[in-house]
């Protein structure tokens, strides 16, 4: 039985420098996993390789045992850290696009969630605020019935109401037949919903484990463990 995600010794360089430097880890189904790392640790690069937006230098990336390609894109829904629906005029256009390009798109669910957030189908996308765009994007991409959801810094720079909505949506979409992988460099807001964490530094995995087990073992919050792991210099790198 294949693991949902199997990454072995993954390497990828930029300008001669290794962004992913032998990354290895596996993920099962039915989990919410945090991919924790400082900015520049390789989180977005990893997501891009997993979704085929970047080629790898060496190593392997398998989703349900299949190499990255159109077949794996069927199973993955990638929610990037920037807005990707800017090319559409109205919300309805974006919904139609999702319906036409992704067979696993649940139109009813999307419409229901959009209505709950008081969006109308004929609203112009350009007129939405940054927080609203984040909401619409999350709704659309998480209305796909994917096996793996990749969320790139979903809580960065959003207001508290949006943050709460995002966490609620993650919890309600998540189920025993999918896994949500959330990349973030801020752990505090999201600790409670994580089953597992994978901490990466300099393009490699430094620590992986179940959250409650780590709490038991270290007697610390995941946030504290994360900070301890990544303290480079005296005085730490607390920049929140």
């Amino acid at each position: 039985m294949n693991e949902l995600v199997e990454i072995k010794d993954l390497k990828r360089s930029f300008a001669g420098k290794r962004a992913l430097n032998g990354m290895t880890f596996s993920l099962g189904t039915g989990k919410i996993v945090g991919l924790l790392g400082e900015n520049g640790a390789g989180k977005t690069t990893l997501f891009r390789v997993m979704t085929g937006l970047l080629t790898r230098d060496s190593g392997s990336v398998r989703i349900e045992g299949i190499e990255v390609g159109p077949k794996t894109n069927e199973r993955i829904s990638y929610v990037p850290d920037h807005f990707v629906f800017g090319g559409f005029r109205r919300i309805s256009n974006a919904v139609t696009y999702m319906k036409m390009c992704f067979p696993d798109f649940d139109e009813k669910k999307a419409e229901m969630l959009l209505a709950k957030l008081h969006f109308t189908q004929d609203q112009k996308i350009a007129s939405l605020s940054k927080g609203q765009k984040a909401q619409v994007q999350l709704v659309l991409l998480m209305s796909r019935k994917a096996k793996l959801y990749l969320l790139d810094e979903p809580l960065a720079a959003v207001d508290p109401a949006t943050r709460e909505f995002i966490i609620k949506t993650i919890l309600s979409t998540f189920g025993e037949d999918n896994t949500v992988l959330i990349s973030t460099h801020v752990v505090m807001d999201i600790e409670l919903i994580l089953d597992e964490v994978v901490m990466i530094k300099d393009g490699r995995v430094h620590l992986q484990g179940e959250t409650d087990e780590l709490r038991e073992k270290y007697g610390k919050t995941i946030n504290e463990i994360f900070k301890d792991e990544f303290r480079y210099v005296e005085g730490g790198t607390e920049n929140e």
Partner: protein
């Protein structure tokens, strides 16, 4: 009563304790049906797996039973509840005495303090 967690200890244990207290104080009455794992997880803002683990522990402790037709219900066994209540109370009491000893007070001093103190609220 909102859910409050200390993230430096296993969450599932804290959830378990919180549910037990809710059962003991009647928020989840005996024999009543507990909300689904998903509902409770969303309400508490935690991972459903973690909530599930706490629920499983409730079942092993005999505090909840899973019925195929009616879901999870709180036990109607008064003996178990009495025992659990006593266990929690004793733990709290021991904690209290330990704290008093930490302040340099004896058990007798602590008892006297109890008679003196008033607790406002529910």
């Amino acid at each position: 009563m909102p859910w409050a967690f200390k993230e430096n200890r296993p969450i599932f244990q804290q959830i378990y304790d919180a549910i037990v207290i809710r059962i003991l104080n009647g928020t989840y009455p005996m024999g009543s049906k507990l909300p689904s794992v998903r509902e409770m997880a969303e309400e508490a803002g935690v991972n459903p797996n973690t909530m599930q683990r706490a629920m499983s522990q409730l079942e092993s402790a005999g505090l909840a039973l899973t019925n195929r037709t009616s879901g999870r219900i709180v036990t109607t066994d008064e003996e178990i509840l009495k025992r659990v209540k006593r266990d929690y109370a004793i733990t709290s009491a021991r904690e209290f005495i330990r704290e008093m000893q930490g302040l340099g007070l004896s058990k007798e001093d602590a008892k006297a303090l109890l008679d003196e103190s008033e607790v406002t609220g529910k």
